[in-house]
């Protein structure tokens, strides 16, 4: 076995030093009845070439977004990742290091986390950010829990424009903790009055920008309404590239901003691992979940970095911890921060502009397409279209047969709402070409 260094002679010498006759005898504390006498019923070891062949065969049975015109979004977006990103994250010193609990031998990880936290704070327009969470949905859920801690209230209002998976994840944790949810129905046209749902028991209102159906909104007034009743405004962002073009949630008065960071540096990868971003105001610092990296000095007085405020975490507070989470999404956060460093201010803003322009071109073309109606105006790189008289699920399936990945049918996420059955979400990014747009429009016109 190529991954295990011992020779039989090594094993014999070690057993002798321990003073036992066999490796099996080291397992003597295992009840006899539970000791397996031989290997379980699974195939034996294989070399690289056999394993590669088997997994490549599985990969070959999929239609990847790189091999077809793709307009899929709804919380996961295909972007171009510069070659340097994947090279750098595969450096063993990043890939194969542990959580930086020993700061003297982890300054590399700690410094990029400090830079990452700064980047996230800047993008969201907030004061502080943590070192990342599992994904955008779990970040949203943790934000709701944090809001109940801060306000000592136990109700949360969810926008109908919040991604359904985010709503479900929030609901899962809320159910455990006895947080009551007031979830507004999905509203593709973007118009909903959340302010009237706020009362004196409301801990927070959770909105998304751009919304699940693509529409963008200014939440400044909602933030004021929240503040007037002592509730927090949580803004979720599922397409982080939008922050290069749009007024950031911090400027709208958000108290907590959560985001899915996958769009920068990370492949689609069938849904994970991704990287959740979490930013808030400085005054809520100690209520914030997740790891934090802070600046300090070493014994020689030189600047250095450490994980800090760890007393909020479960290894110290145990059942009183702010969260049970003990990992961040280190490597995905690294990919994110490297991609954003490469882009810089100018590159990031251009990337956002390019995404918006491509989506606008797509909308222009679809507005002229028979049987297709673009829903609403005001979007970033994704919007909903109504496929008149047709079910989006069927149309998407038909187009997949023609090797076009047409977008996400809303019914995939809301199967029990017939009024949404003809809605299709389509996204464009910098990778979308004129030919892709043409292929989609032509195929949509012909689809039943």
């Amino acid at each position: 076995m190529r991954y295990m260094p011992h020779t039989e002679a090594d094993r014999r010498a070690m057993l002798q030093a321990i003073g036992v006759p066999s490796v099996d005898s080291l397992f003597r504390d295992v009840p006899e009845a539970a000791r397996l006498k031989g290997p379980v019923d699974l195939p034996p070891h294989q070399g690289e070439l056999e394993v590669e062949r088997a997994i490549a065969a599985m990969a070959a049975r999929n239609l990847g977004t790189a091999s077809a015109p793709s307009f899929l979004g709804a919380g996961a977006y295909r972007h171009h990742v510069p070659a340097a990103v994947d090279h750098l994250i595969q450096r063993g010193e990043f890939l194969t290091s542990y959580t930086p609990y020993q700061p003297e031998v982890s300054q590399g990880t700690l410094q990029y986390l400090f830079e990452f936290q700064t980047q996230v704070a800047l993008l969201t327009g907030m004061e502080v950010a943590n070192a990342s969470m599992y994904d955008g949905a779990s970040a949203a859920s943790e934000a709701v829990v944090m809001a109940t801690r801060v306000t000592k209230r136990d109700r949360a209002v969810l926008s109908g424009n919040l991604h359904p998976h985010y709503r479900e994840v929030v609901a899962t944790n809320a159910g455990l903790l006895g947080i009551a949810l007031d979830a507004a129905p999905p509203c593709p046209d973007g118009a909903e009055d959340l302010a009237r749902r706020i009362d004196d028991k409301t801990a927070c209102v959770v909105v998304q920008n751009p919304g699940f159906f693509g529409q963008i909104r200014d939440f400044t007034k909602l933030a004021e309404a929240c503040r007037a009743r002592g509730a927090l405004l949580i803004v979720a962002v599922t397409e982080v590239v939008s922050l290069g073009a749009l007024k950031p949630p911090g400027e709208m008065g958000a108290d907590i901003v959560v985001a899915e960071g996958q769009s920068l540096g990370n492949p689609l990868g069938f849904g994970g691992p991704y990287v959740g971003l979490f930013a808030t105001r400085e005054k809520f610092l100690r209520q914030m979940p997740g790891r934090l990296c802070g600046q300090t000095v070493d014994a020689d007085g030189q600047r250095g970095f450490v994980l800090t405020l760890s007393t909020r975490e479960q290894h110290i507070r145990r059942e009183k911890a702010t969260s049970n989470i003990c990992t961040n999404s280190g490597l995905c956060a690294l990919a994110f921060t490297i991609h954003l460093t490469l882009l810089g201010e100018a590159g990031f803003r251009r990337l956002a502009a390019l995404n918006h322009a491509r989506a606008a071109q797509l909308a222009e073309r679809l507005e002229k397409t028979r049987g297709v109606e673009v829903v609403g105006d005001g979007f970033f790189n994704e919007f909903a279209v109504r496929l008149e008289g047709r079910k989006a699920v069927d149309v998407v399936e038909q187009l997949a047969g023609k090797r076009i990945l047409a977008g996400v049918p809303v019914a995939r996420l809301y199967p029990d709402r017939p009024e949404l059955a003809d809605l299709l979400l389509v996204a464009a990014t910098e990778l979308t070409t004129d030919r892709d747009i043409d292929a989609l429009a032509t195929a949509l016109e012909g689809a039943r």
């Binding site: 057993l15 010193e93 405020l309 990945l405």
Partner: protein, 507 residues
């Protein structure tokens, strides 16, 4: 830069290069990515355009490459040396796994593509699920938890849902041994349970009599790590399971240490109801400086109906995905994360398992246990072991051998850094004073273990000689020396801000 402890002009020391923050080396307009000019279109941003600069620094590609390369050189890594962190399982990360996760047809799959276009991906998840179920002897597995802690949450939620389904609301308590990792009580509390600690006996195992005395109609279940955090197999597992079940509770096993027994013991044969598996430990997906993890949970028949969404199922036209909660009694547990779980980790873990095979996994557990016992045997005369061997995959020592020396467990750890080793896990488990928890893993050769043992023996001898200064000053040869954690916590600085004259831009 002229005042630095090394007396060089730059602050550098040969291959060890100082590196400022990206924010201290940016220039306006510079970028490491060339993107096309956006086509001219009518803006549809509806007047919500961002005003003013974000404040991101501009670096070219060579600057960025150099920045991250220099940062990487300030990290210790398994690739560089032995990382004996007990309970964390820092084993070799095969590069084949990295190659396969990047394959076209896997890396570029969108989670919401039509199921007909991702049959290979679903097959991969289903295959991994089959391996996990076979290795644990359990009938079901929930694949979506994002990490071990979320796996714990998933397991305890399933227990709670099963009790709720029976209308059983009086079970408000979860029992957790004192030696447990802090996530266990944190998870139970996150699920709304009261947590009660169960003491350990003199052998470092759960005190069976104390446990039995505590069981009753108010107990929802028990969470036990096995092998436990002292690196010992809980001999009474089967008896514990029987007692908990007889009292109407469920038996959660924390699978953080499954790597010690994989291929040799099926936890299902011990009578457990659920167990999370940290793919980054037992199945070697990379730790990546703190994640991402992945924590599938195997479930007994009693708990299987309460698995969270989604599930891969065998449909009439191939694999299908169950993603929705409506209309089923199973909606109780809901969804833990967006989409379908940590696919990138699934690919790596499956590649690792297929490479090892049933025989190789069994051997990996055997070698991991052999290595830990070798360390225990060769260090027991100079350090102090609280419990007699054999241990499982990790060797535990306490700080009695340091009594009266003025040297602490932490000081030893810092001295190990200067010797080129990552420290072991310290001060955990809490049931042992000044704990040293050493997990070599099966990846270490006898030669590297012998060098590690020689270092630990040498340090123990140095303690005896009273050379305390050597320890208190360590580490000396790292990019940074001991860091002031008190200052970091008292006055948190969690982000860079522009120097004073530019202060307005930061507001």
């Amino acid at each position: 830069m002229s005042t630095n402890p090394h007396g060089t002009i730059t602050g550098n020391r040969g291959l060890q290069l100082e590196e400022p923050l990206i924010f201290e080396q940016g220039a306006d307009g510079r970028s490491g990515v060339d993107l096309p000019e956006p086509p001219k279109v009518k803006s549809r941003l509806g007047g919500l355009e961002r005003q003013g600069a974000i404040g991101l620094p501009g670096l070219s590609e060579p600057q960025a490459i150099r920045h991250y390369t220099r940062l990487s050189q300030k990290n210790y890594a398994i690739d560089a040396g032995m990382y004996p962190l007990g309970s964390c399982t820092m084993k070799h990360n095969p590069r084949l796994n990295e190659k396969l996760v990047r394959l076209g047809g896997l890396a570029d799959l969108h989670p919401l593509q039509p199921v007909s276009t991702v049959q290979g991906a679903l097959e991969l998840i289903d295959t991994l699920a089959h391996w996990l179920k076979t290795l644990t002897g359990m009938p079901a597995v929930a694949m979506s938890p994002a990490a071990g802690a979320q796996g714990e949450l998933c397991g305890v939620m399933a227990m709670k849902a099963a009790h709720d389904a029976k209308g059983n609301s009086k079970r408000v308590r979860i029992l957790v041994p004192e030696s447990a990792h802090g996530t266990n009580p944190a998870t139970a509390a996150a699920c709304g349970y009261q947590v009660e600690a169960i003491p350990a006996d003199a052998r470092g195992r759960v005190d069976l009599a104390a446990l039995k005395a505590r069981l009753g109609p108010d107990v929802a279940g028990i969470m036990i790590t096995n092998p436990n955090t002292c690196g010992l197999f809980e001999n009474d597992m089967i008896e514990i399971g029987r007692a908990v079940h007889a009292a109407g509770g469920f038996f959660y096993c924390d699978g953080a240490n499954f790597n010690a027994i994989v291929g040799r013991v099926r936890p299902g044969d011990l009578g457990i109801d659920c167990m999370h598996i940290n793919l980054h430990k037992t199945f070697s997906t990379p730790h990546g400086g703190g994640g991402p993890g992945s924590g599938p949970v195997v479930l007994s028949a009693a708990l299987a109906p309460y698995a969270p969404l989604p599930w891969v199922v065998h449909g009439k036209d191939g694999f299908a995905l169950v993603e929705q909660t409506e209309g089923t009694a199973r909606s109780a547990t809901g969804r833990l994360k967006a989409f379908h779980g940590q696919m990138g980790m699934f690919v790596r873990a499956l590649a690792y398992m297929m490479s090892h095979g049933a025989d190789g996994l069994r051997q990996a557990a055997g070698d991991a246990v052999l290595n830990a016992n070798y360390v225990l045997a060769r260090l027991s005369d100079v350090m102090s072991a609280p419990f007699p061997g054999p241990c499982m995959h990790e060797a535990l020592f306490d700080d009695r051998f340091l009594n009266g020396s003025g040297v602490s467990t932490l000081d030893i750890a810092k001295a190990m850094i200067d010797e080129g080793f990552h420290p072991m896990t310290m001060y955990f488990p809490l049931v042992v004073h000044g704990a040293f928890l050493i997990e070599p893993t099966e990846s270490e050769s006898k030669a590297s273990l012998d060098q590690f043992i020689a270092v630990m023996r040498g340090l123990a001898e140095r303690v005896k000689k009273g050379d305390t200064d050597h320890f208190h000053q360590a580490p000396r040869y790292t990019p940074r020396r001991r860091l002031d954690e008190t200052q970091a916590a008292r006055k948190p600085v969690l982000r860079w801000r522009p120097p004073a004259p530019d202060k307005q831009a930061a507001e």
